[in-house]
């Protein structure tokens, strides 16, 4: 006969049950734990004698490790060596271990870190060496995700600088120690991921990538280069994505459902959690955007980096890089040169060799060249390049796309360094605006309009256009020389100055004073008022300022101390915080009026003074904007629009081959498929009636049906009774109801409101 077994005996080999009991009452089950620990030690001894062996038996080593890693934190004094044993097991035998056991050990180590038994640095020191050395793909994947999650978790609440620094040092050393091995790819991967998540955004991470870009191994080097070319864009996109996906929770809906559905503690808790998370997200949204520098800006010594990487990977004929990776490196170099305005002269002679239409992906080379051009590149270096592009690409014999691409490339180069062009060449090229091909024509026109702005004197007289011709005649347009910098200014500041002067004169005239004479007292009043009108709202009709002050001439009158101002305004408003500059009034120079009317250079001088002597209040800035808007005639001009477009293009953005190829695509005719696709594009693919759409919308909003709909959908059997009654009425019944109706009407409704 079979013996009956009790409930306890049945589950005896169940470590999960024991685990649960241990957590409830660690002290009572101490002996059981120690038994299990000994069991583990014995199994471990067995395992160490033959690591590849799969152990049979009811409770395997894997389960025991799982059990222990969940419970060791309850008995720290008994199990002090547990984590080192696990780490040793993994480090020494990871390549022969059974998959399950191996993954379990990795998971257990991570669990021990979460429980605080080991710290994150120890854990990463265990995981990382295996990550870079193991031949197993699945283990690498597992370790990579674990490493990333550890790094993320450690940086979640506050940045863990110590860990980050150690990890970055490890990655740096990994690449530096052996630049030939492909192991450095892990450093690249980890750094890129951390960069993308904005956990690492400092120069150290960039330094790791710089090391990677200088590596000998092609994989590592392209990884590093790709990071510099695309890492920041990826980071921005990731940030946008994370900010986009947070409007999933519909709080109103949740609250509504909570009101209708059965109320349980869990649902209440869920609602509360949703509320908290929503709050958190909103807070995050409103938080100031973290100021992140791009990787290219965080580089130390970009000049040295650009030179080394160019000579090492591009110029060096010994290395056997694939054409694509070489092109990537070239892109990075030209990007660095353009962004930091570096001087790498060998780069341009390198280009000279490759600028032929038969060169593979020549548009990329053209784009790189344009990118590598800036206004400190000597024109005599660029001149032969431009000449070569013109000779090779732009001719009647060459295909229209080639000519368009060449012209476009020349335009891009010359937009950055206009001095690279000679007049004969330019006049030749401009002739192509009469070309029959649309792309070539547009490209040539682009070049023409560019030179109308930046170097009209190179053009023939009849090509110069009205503005440029008049400017040259008046002498306002001067050709800029090599290395010359434009004077920085605020657009429309002269308008503001003029307006201020007019206001002041008006005020003085209203006060009965001579507007041209010196009058310090009136100025003082004006100024006091002006400071009061710090904000835009305060100004009414008398928004004026007390003119500008010549600091140099009346230096002794300046009062910088706050207390003086305080004294002056004691009876007036409370002091503003932004009392930085002295507002001591001084008479405007008498010749002010004349200067504004006189020749231009002097005017330029005075406007610079306005900026140096006064602080523009928000009210001033608003006025400035208004003035700018009123004189908007200029802004409607195409040249201005183009300038704005150019300004809108971010400096960090690269010129790609598409920019160069764009011109050629203008004149191209669409194929039939493309036309069909375009015609279909704005139409809906699946037709739906308006009612259906409304219904769908309503359902998606979680609204109920109308009474009408309910009536329509009502079960037929339910309506039967009523219909039967209606049909079977006798004449008498009908009469009675009709009479009743009349009676009710007389009474004024069922309840009757006639009598009372």
């Amino acid at each position: 006969m079979k013996r009956k077994v009790g409930a306890m005996e049945k589950v005896e080999a169940d470590v999960a049950a024991l685990r649960w009991k241990l957590k409830r009452d660690p002290q009572s089950y101490r002996d059981d734990f120690s038994n299990q620990y000994q069991q583990y030690e014995t199994l471990r001894d067995l395992f160490l004698q033959d690591p590849g062996q799969t152990d049979s038996g009811v409770v395997a080593l894997k389960d025991l490790i799982d059990f222990l890693s969940h419970t060791v934190d309850l008995y720290p004094e008994m199990t002090s060596t547990f984590h080192t044993e696990l780490a040793d097991m993994l480090l020494q035998h990871h390549d022969v271990l059974e998959y399950d056991l191996r993954d379990k050990i990795v998971g257990s180590l991570c669990l021990l870190k979460t429980k605080g038994v080991i710290d994150s640095i120890t854990l990463l020191n265990t995981l990382f060496p295996i990550l870079i050395s193991t031949p197993s793909k699945s283990l690498r994947q597992l370790l990579f995700t674990k490493t990333l999650s550890v790094l993320r978790a450690e940086n979640a609440k506050a940045t863990n600088h110590k860990l980050n620094r150690t990890m970055q040092a490890v990655l740096f050393n990994l690449i530096e120690s052996d630049s030939v091995s492909p192991q450095g790819i892990w450093a690249v991967k980890i750094t890129r991921e951390m960069w993308k998540r904005q956990i690492w955004s400092d120069a150290r991470a960039v330094e790791v990538m710089r090391m990677a870009a200088l590596s000998e191994n092609e994989k590592v080097l392209t990884g590093g280069v790709r990071f510099f070319l695309g890492g920041d864009k990826e980071r921005e996109e990731a940030a946008e994505e994370s900010s986009d996906d947070d409007n999933d929770v519909d709080m109103a809906r949740l609250r509504h459902q909570a009101g209708i559905n059965k109320k349980t503690k869990k649902k209440a808790r869920d609602l509360k959690n949703a509320h908290v998370s929503l709050k958190k997200k909103e807070k995050k949204k409103n938080a100031p955007h973290p100021l992140n520098f791009s990787a290219l800006h965080l580089l130390h010594d970009p000049q040295g980096f650009a030179e080394t990487i160019f000579s090492k990977h591009v110029q060096n004929s010994k290395n056997k890089l694939a054409h694509e990776s070489k092109l990537l490196v070239l892109q990075l170099v030209s990007r660095l040169v353009g962004l930091h305005k570096l001087t790498v002269l060998s780069l341009y002679s390198y280009f000279l060799k490759h600028l032929t239409p038969r060169q593979a992906s020549v548009t990329s080379y053209l784009a790189c060249l344009a990118q590598a051009t800036h206004d400190y590149v000597p024109p005599d270096v660029l001149e032969p390049l431009v000449q070569k592009i013109a000779n090779e690409f732009v001719s009647e014999a060459s295909a229209s796309e080639v000519a368009a691409a060449g012209l476009n490339a020349i335009r891009e180069i010359c937009a950055r360094q206009p001095l690279a062009m000679t007049d004969t060449l330019l006049q030749d090229l401009v002739m192509y605006r009469k070309s029959k091909d649309k792309g070539t024509m547009m490209a040539a026109k682009g070049l023409l309009s560019l030179y109308r702005e930046v170097g009209a004197d190179l053009l023939k007289k009849r090509d110069r256009g009205k503005d440029a011709a008049m400017g040259i005649r008046a002498g306002t347009i001067k050709d800029r020389r090599y290395g010359e910098e434009a004077v920085g200014e605020i657009e429309g500041i002269e308008l503001l100055e003029k307006w201020k002067e007019e206001e002041r004169r008006k005020k003085l005239e209203a006060a009965g004073l001579d507007p041209d004479a010196d009058n310090g007292d009136a100025g003082l009043d004006n100024d006091e008022e002006d400071w009061k009108k710090w904000d835009v709202e305060s100004d009414g009709d008398s928004d004026d300022s007390g003119g500008w002050i010549n600091v140099e001439s009346d230096g002794e009158d300046i009062q910088i101390s706050d207390s003086e101002d305080e004294k002056d305004k004691k009876d007036k408003r409370p002091a503003k915080k932004a009392k930085l500059s002295s507002a001591t009034p001084t008479p405007a120079p008498a010749d002010n009026k004349e200067t504004s009317k006189s020749v231009e250079p002097e005017a330029a001088k005075t406007l610079s003074k306005l900026l140096t002597t006064t602080i523009l209040t928000p009210a001033d800035l608003k006025q400035l904007q208004a003035l700018r808007a009123t004189t908007a005639i200029k802004s409607s001009l195409p040249s201005h629009k183009r300038a704005q477009l150019l300004a809108a293009r971010h400096v960090d953005e690269a010129i790609t081959a598409e920019t160069i190829e764009l011109a050629a695509s203008i004149g191209k005719k669409n194929t039939k498929e493309e036309k069909v696709a375009m015609a279909k594009a704005d139409r809906e693919t699946n037709h739906q009636s308006t009612t259906a759409m409304r219904k769908e919308k309503k359902e998606s909003e979680g609204k109920s049906t109308t009474n009408k709909e309910k009536a329509r959908k009502k079960n037929f059997l339910m309506t039967l009774g009523k219909a039967k009654i209606k049909n079977k009425r006798s004449l008498g019944d009908v009469k009675r109801t009709l009479l009743g109706h009349i009676e009710r009407k007389k009474r004024g409704g069922k309840r009757g409101n006639k009598g009372n």
Partner: protein, 338 residues
């Protein structure tokens, strides 16, 4: 007819429809019948014996050794039974069809097997093997035995004790003197009997999870008794060697080749460094010293408690006490200044 009633009627029709049987026609198939026919261009036989003669005994044994990892416990048991019958029926002078050094590493893992019948059969197999071979694999077997003794399932724990008793009986000296064989076993016993008395702050010891009744405790104590007897008493083998003196050569046994394999195991030339627990204690005095340091106090204290219980437990504990007393009788500690 309304749509809903129509639906209902249709539904009604579908359920429990009686198939009509007609004379002369094939019987309609049931709805639940599954076609088991299949088509294949060729049939591949996984194993096909092409030899006309029956496989040799060696090959059969190798095959059954491979089957010891089989997932079905009946198969494992049968393979063990086959091996046992082959070994027992074999003439003792001729070599075994498969050497013990092949059989033991494969078979010893089954000590932890989940099925009781397999385990019992395994013990029979082990008992049928020549004792000399067992002695050279004692350390391996002891490891598995210890794993069984601390196992979560009480059946396996009891079986572990059985194996230990057998092992101590057949190769006692090797068991107590192998690496980790002495200290780790003592520790294991103490923890099994919960005589560690470390958590002495407790008011009362709750009956622990999965703790067995006193029967198992008696068995454990008996096993401990025989284990200690082997470890702490003078070895008989030594006495035998000492008795026969061939006159001019006094210590011949030290000069002849050893019968044991791996004679220099105690030097630990190739393994990891051992700590005190994993060390080999080949001398009786060494064992006594370690026993005194680590276990004696706990055992004496535990025995006191157990003797009070009386009955079978009391008898076992009295036995144990006697062994401890006799074994430690000639122990005296030299006070060595550290």
């Amino acid at each position: 007819m309304t749509s809903s009633s129509k639906k209902k009627q249709e539904k009604k029709k579908k359920d429990f429809q009686k198939p009509k049987l007609k004379v002369g026609k094939a019987k309609p198939k049931a709805a639940s019948s599954t076609s088991t026919s299949f088509k294949a261009k060729s049939i591949a036989l996984k194993q096909q014996a092409l030899s006309t003669s029956a496989p040799t005994l060696e090959a059969q044994c190798a095959h059954h050794l491979g089957l010891l990892n089989h997932k079905a416990d009946t198969q494992r048991k049968e393979s063990l039974a086959f091996l046992t019958s082959v070994i027992t029926s074999h003439p003792p002078t001729a070599p075994l069809p498969q050497p013990s050094s092949v059989i033991i590493p494969v078979a010893q893992r089954l000590i932890l097997d989940g099925s009781n019948s397999v385990r019992q059969q395994l013990l029979k197999l082990l008992q049928s093997l020549p004792p000399g071979d067992i002695a050279s694999h004692a350390d391996q077997l002891l490891l598995h035995t210890r794993a069984a003794m601390t196992h979560l399932a009480s059946e396996i724990r009891v079986f572990g004790l059985e194996v230990l008793e057998w092992l101590v009986g057949i190769a006692g000296v090797e068991v107590v003197s192998c690496a980790g064989g002495w200290v780790k076993m003592l520790k294991c016993f103490l923890s099994l009997l919960s005589w560690q008395s470390e958590a002495s702050g407790k008011w009362s010891t709750a009956k622990s999870y999965g703790k067995s009744d006193s029967k198992i405790q008696v068995k454990q104590m008996n096993a401990l008794t025989s284990f200690l007897r082997t470890g702490l008493y003078h070895a008989q083998a030594m006495a035998v060697v000492a008795s026969e003196s061939n006159f001019p050569l006094w210590q011949t046994d030290h000069h002849v080749l050893s019968e044991r394999s791996n004679v220099y195991a105690h030097l630990n030339l190739f393994g990891a460094t051992r700590d005190e627990e994993a060390e080999m204690y080949e001398d009786r005095e060494d064992r006594q010293r370690v026993f005194h340091d680590r276990a004696e106090a706990a055992i004496v204290a535990g025995l006191e408690h157990a003797t009070k219980g009386g009955g079978e437990l009391g008898r076992a504990s009295a036995q144990l006490r006697k062994v401890v007393k006799e074994g430690m009788a000639d122990f005296y500690r030299e006070e060595v200044a550290p």
